[in-house]
């Protein structure tokens, strides 16, 4: 149901990996003297890389300021990366369904559609509870469902009914095929809430 920062993680890990690899290769080349052989300006093997006095480099006030700002910047980036790890629901807000806004707008809350889907799933045999979530836009909707069934439910039957009624009904309502559909099924020991009474059409004999 929740979305994770997978793409962001992969991108940053790739960037950091490339930087670390480049640093490692450079250190290795400097250590075995290849770098000195390629360009005589580079330090030779077994000699210190940093020559000269570091105290004079860090003496001006602006260098301290630059280091401070860079440190704060890297810290903020790291913090935002950690915060991005919190799983998010990212639900769609309101779907806009109008073609010509000049004659009036048509708005439909995605939560209203989701609750209609939930109501429909809850009537399926063996389903104890459900929650549905819509993401994306009205033209490219994504549906994610979490369905709790009881331990005697026929899961294949539930899935079949979802694929043949619930999903086509939502497509009909939005007049577009769903882009992605996700179903998460949980098993519970509770009894299904629906089905305590039935609407009967039988004959009553006095």
């Amino acid at each position: 149901m929740r979305q994770h920062a997978g793409v962001l993680n992969r991108t940053w890990l790739l960037i950091l990996g490339i930087l670390a690899l480049a640093g490692g290769v450079l250190t290795l080349l400097a250590a075995n003297g290849t770098l000195h052989a390629m360009s005589p300006a580079m330090p030779a093997a077994e000699s210190p890389v940093v020559t000269g006095d570091l105290h004079t480099v860090f003496e001006p006030a602006y260098v301290t300021a630059i280091v401070l700002v860079a440190g704060v910047l890297i810290g903020a980036l790291g913090l935002s990366w950690i915060l991005a790890q919190i799983p998010r629901r990212n639900p769609a807000d309101t779907y806009r369904l109008h073609q010509d806004p000049a004659s009036g707008t048509t708005l439909c809350d995605a939560a209203a559609l989701a609750s209609a889907v939930e109501n429909q799933i809850n009537t399926l045999p063996g389903v104890v509870g459900s929650s549905a979530l819509l993401r994306g836009t009205a033209m490219e909707p994504d549906l994610t469902m979490k369905i709790t069934v009881n331990n005697r439910a026929d899961i294949q039957d539930v899935l079949h009914r979802i694929n043949t009624t619930v999903i086509p009904d939502l497509s009909t309502a939005l007049e577009t095929p769903l882009r992605r559909t996700g179903i998460q099924i949980e098993i519970s020991g509770r009894n299904a809430l629906a089905g305590t009474t039935v609407a009967t059409t039988g004959t009553v004999i006095y």
């Binding site: 004659s103 707008t105 048509t106 559609l113 209609a116 429909q120 629906a194 009474t197």
Partner: protein, 136 residues
């Protein structure tokens, strides 16, 4: 009033007649109720009833949808809060509703309907069986 020229001809008589009939003033609420009634007459549309300050209201297909009207002279902008049958094609249904509301309101009141903004607040199947009896 040009009473001095009254005996001049039939045109003036008509004018005087029109003026002596009085005025018809239509309250904004009248337009709201007419629009709500027109919207509620559609089989796939409904409104919400009951509750206090919006809490505990329940949706019903037999209830008139809530309509707010903004009047500017003889032009009106309508906002309709509506519940629809699920599953109906929402775009087609709301477009049909918009056309019908603007036609009927213009025909019945003479107010020109410029825009009809529709907000779908709930969606329900026609024969909702919750499996529980409703308490009366």
């Amino acid at each position: 009033m040009n009473t001095a020229a009254a005996p001049a001809g039939s045109q003036d008589l008509e004018y005087r007649d029109l003026d002596s009939r009085g005025r018809t003033v239509l309250d904004r609420k009248v337009v709201e109720k007419i629009a709500g009634q027109v919207a509620g007459e559609e089989s796939f549309a409904g409104g919400s009833s009951g509750g206090f300050l919006g809490i505990g209201a329940h949706s019903d297909f037999s209830v008139r949808p809530k309509v707010t009207v903004e009047l500017a002279g003889n032009m009106a902008v309508l906002s309709v809060e509506i519940g629809l049958l699920y599953p109906v094609p929402l775009r087609q249904a709301t477009e049909q509703l918009r056309r019908r509301i603007s036609e009927r309101v213009t025909a019945l009141t003479g107010v020109e309907v410029r825009q009809v903004d529709i907000t779908v607040s709930w969606l329900k199947p026609a024969d909702e069986i919750t499996g529980r009896r409703r308490l009366l």
